[in-house]
Point group: C2
Chain length 365, copies 2
C-alpha cells in the first residue's frame, strides 16, 4: 500500500505523461465552455437545440436513424439489453465474462431488469462465432465489446464480425455493440463508424474515452428503439433537466479528436514496442489494434511499482499511477494513448524507457 | 396551440419575470465556474475532494450521518424506497397520488424495482395522520413530499409531521422525505433542515429548485443506508466518472441562496396577494407556505393565455410561459419565487397586474 501510494504520488508529480489526454480537472470543462455564449439555452429533459443537434450529429456518424444522449454507458447499455429482452420475451443476454456489465455494475442488469447473463468465451479470449453457435441457451441479445477492454483491447477480425452479425440476424438474436471505444478501432479496421454500426442493431459509444469529454454516452438505433430508450432513461433517473455540461464538452472534444484516432493508434503501436523491449515486461496485445493496451510485468506488484516510481522520479515523465496485482508474481496496468504522447520528443521517450529498463533490472537483481 | 406558442414567445421576449432565478442558460454554469481553479480535480466515480466536501456539507445541513450526491432525484428516491423495501421484505410503499414517482417517472419504481405504490389521501389533499392510520396494507415505507408540489405546494402543520413520524416509528414503517423543496419550507415552519430531517429516516433534496443549480440531488441517511445507496447508484448508471459540473454549481448557488429562502417566501405571499385581486384568478394555496403556489384561472386556457400574453407584451414583464388545462373552463400555471422578483419595483409589479387585470376583463367580456 505504501509503495502503491508512492507510485501514484510520483505519477501525479510528473510534468508529462506517456498516455492519456491529461489530467481530469475543471480545465476540461472551462476550455469547452470558453467559446460558448452565455445565452446558450439549456436542454430541458431531453429536448432542446443543444441536445438535438448533438444527437443528430451522432446519428449521422453512426449511420443509425436516431440516437439519445445518456449520462452514462452503464445506463445506456442496460436499457438497450432490456428493450431487446422485452421484445423477444427472453430475459437472457450473452456477453464476455469481463464485460463492463459483468464486473463493474454491481449486477445491475439482474437486480434492476431481471436479466440473466450467459457468459461467452473464456475470460482471456475474445468471442468467436463458434462461441455463439455453441451456446446452449437461447438469448434475446448478444453484446460485443470492441475492443475487449479488460484483456488489453483485443479485436476479432472484420470477417468474424460480419459472420457473427449474419448468424445473429438469421437466428433472431439482436446484436448490441459496446462501442465505448468504437472510434478508437476504426483505423485498424479501416472502416467508418457507420459501416461497423451497420452490423449491429444498437450501438453505444462513450464520449469520455478517446474523445476525452467529461462524462456521458450515446445510444443509437432505429426510431422505435430510441423512443423506448427514452422512456427507460426517464425510469432510470437519467432524463436530467440539464445534460448540457456533458453534451457541450462532448461536442467540443469530439470535433478536436475524431480525426486523431489514427495517430493515437500509431502512437500506441510505437509505445508498446518500447515496453516490450524492457525485461519482464510484455504488452497485451503485443501489437495494439487501437489506442490501448495492457502492460504486464512478471514481478510482484510492489517491485514493479518501485521500479516505475523510481523511473518517474528520475525523468519527470509519467508511466502509470497504479499497478494491479494478477498473482504473487505478476501485475499489470492499462495504457490508453491520447494527446499527451505527441508532446514528448523521441529522445524523451527513449530516456524514460532507458531509466525504466535500468530500474526494472535493479529490482530484479 | 397557436395561443400557447404566443404565450411562450411573449414570455421569452420579456426583459423581467415575476418568478424564478432567470433563464436556464450556459451563464449559470459559467458564472459558477468563473472562480474555480483550472486545476480543480474532478471527482472520480463518487470519490474525491470535490464530492466529499459537498456531501459532508449537506450532511451537516440535514443533520444526517452521511449523504450522497445523485444526478437526479428520480434516481435517489427510487433507490431510497428500494433499500427500505428490501430491509422490510415488503415491496410496497405509500405516497401521495400526485407524487413525482407516480406521475413523472414512467412507472420506474414498479418497472425497475417491482415496488407497488399505495396511494394515500385524495389527490387534492395533503396526507394526514388519519390517511396513514387507516391504510389497509402494510408498507415498508411512506414518502412525504414537503411541500406537495402538484397541489400548489401545500404543507401539513408541524404537529402533524411529528405525529406521522412517531406513528411510523412505532409501527416499523420507514419514513422518507421528498424534500426537493425542503429549504423553501423552513421559514414557514420556523425550523432548521436538520430538525425536520430528524423526523425522517431518509431525506432527498434537490439542488436546482430554490438553490438554482444545474441538476442533481442529495440523498441523506445513516451510514449503512448511504453505503447501500451507493451500490444502487452504480447499478442505476448514476455513478458517473465526473459529477463535478453539477456539484460545483450546486455548491456555488447553495451559498448564494440558502439564506434567501425567507425572502422568496415573503415575496410569494405578496405576489399571491396581487394574483388573488384579479378577476377569475385565485392562488393555491391562497396564502403560500413556501416560495411557490399555483395560479388558477377560471377561464378556458386559450382565453387565459390570450390575456397573459397581452399583458406581457404591453409591460415587458413575464408572468408565465404556459398555462395547463384543468377542464374546459379552468386552467393553471405554477409560480416559484426566486431572485428575479427583487429586480422589480413595486410600481412595476403594480403595472403588470393592472394590465393583467384589464386584459382578463377584456377576454371575459
Amino acid at each position: 500500500m505504501k509503495d502503491t501510494n508512492r507510485l501514484r504520488d510520483t505519477f501525479e508529480e510528473t510534468e508529462y505523461q506517456l498516455a492519456g489526454h491529461g489530467k481530469r480537472t475543471a480545465r476540461i470543462l472551462k476550455e469547452a465552455f470558453a467559446q460558448v455564449d452565455d445565452g446558450l439555452k439549456s436542454d430541458h429533459y431531453g429536448e432542446g437545440q443543444v441536445i438535438d443537434a448533438f444527437q443528430d450529429k451522432m446519428a449521422k456518424l453512426l449511420g443509425k436513424e436516431e440516437t439519445v444522449f445518456f449520462p452514462s454507458g452503464t445506463m445506456a447499455q442496460q436499457i438497450a439489453l432490456r428493450i431487446w429482452s422485452d421484445e423477444e420475451g427472453i430475459r437472457k443476454v450473452g456477453y464476455h465474462p469481463l464485460s463492463h456489465l459483468e464486473i463493474h455494475e454491481e449486477n445491475g442488469l439482474q437486480e434492476l431488469h431481471g436479466i440473466q447473463s450467459i457468459l461467452l468465451a473464456d475470460r482471456n479470449s475474445i468471442i468467436t462465432l463458434e462461441d455463439i453457435v455453441n451456446m446452449q441457451e437461447k438469448v434475446a441479445c448478444i453484446l460485443l465489446e470492441l475492443p475487449q477492454r479488460e484483456i488489453g483491447g483485443q479485436l476479432p477480425d472484420y470477417k468474424t464480425l460480419e459472420d457473427i452479425s449474419a448468424y445473429c440476424r438469421e437466428h433472431g438474436i439482436r446484436l448490441h455493440l459496446d462501442g465505448a471505444r468504437l472510434l478508437e478501432v476504426l483505423p485498424y479496421y479501416g472502416k467508418t463508424a457507420a459501416e461497423i454500426s451497420a452490423l449491429f442493431d444498437s450501438v453505444y459509444i462513450s464520449v469520455y474515452k478517446g474523445i476525452g469529454g467529461i462524462a456521458g454516452a450515446v445510444l443509437a438505433g432505429n426510431a422505435e428503439f430510441i423512443q423506448q430508450s427514452k422512456v427507460w432513461k426517464r425510469r432510470h433517473g437519467g432524463d436530467l433537466i440539464s445534460l448540457y455540461p456533458y453534451i457541450v464538452s462532448a461536442d467540443y472534444y469530439f470535433d478536436q479528436r475524431v480525426n486523431q484516432m489514427r495517430r493515437y493508434y500509431e502512437d500506441a503501436t510505437e509505445l508498446a514496442g518500447y515496453f516490450n523491449n524492457v525485461p519482464a515486461v510484455t504488452t497485451l496485445p503485443e501489437v495494439p489494434v487501437s489506442n490501448m493496451f495492457h502492460v504486464h510485468i512478471a514481478l510482484p506488484e510492489e517491485q514493479a511499482a518501485e521500479a516505475i516510481a523510481a523511473a518517474q522520479e528520475q525523468t519527470g515523465i509519467g508511466i502509470t499511477g497504479y499497478v494491479r496485482k494478477i498473482d504473487d508474481h505478476n501485475c499489470y496496468f492499462e495504457v490508453s494513448l491520447g494527446d499527451q504522447y505527441a508532446n514528448l520528443s523521441a529522445a524523451e521517450v527513449r530516456k524514460v524507457f532507458q531509466q525504466f529498463d535500468s530500474e526494472i533490472k535493479k529490482v530484479m537483481s
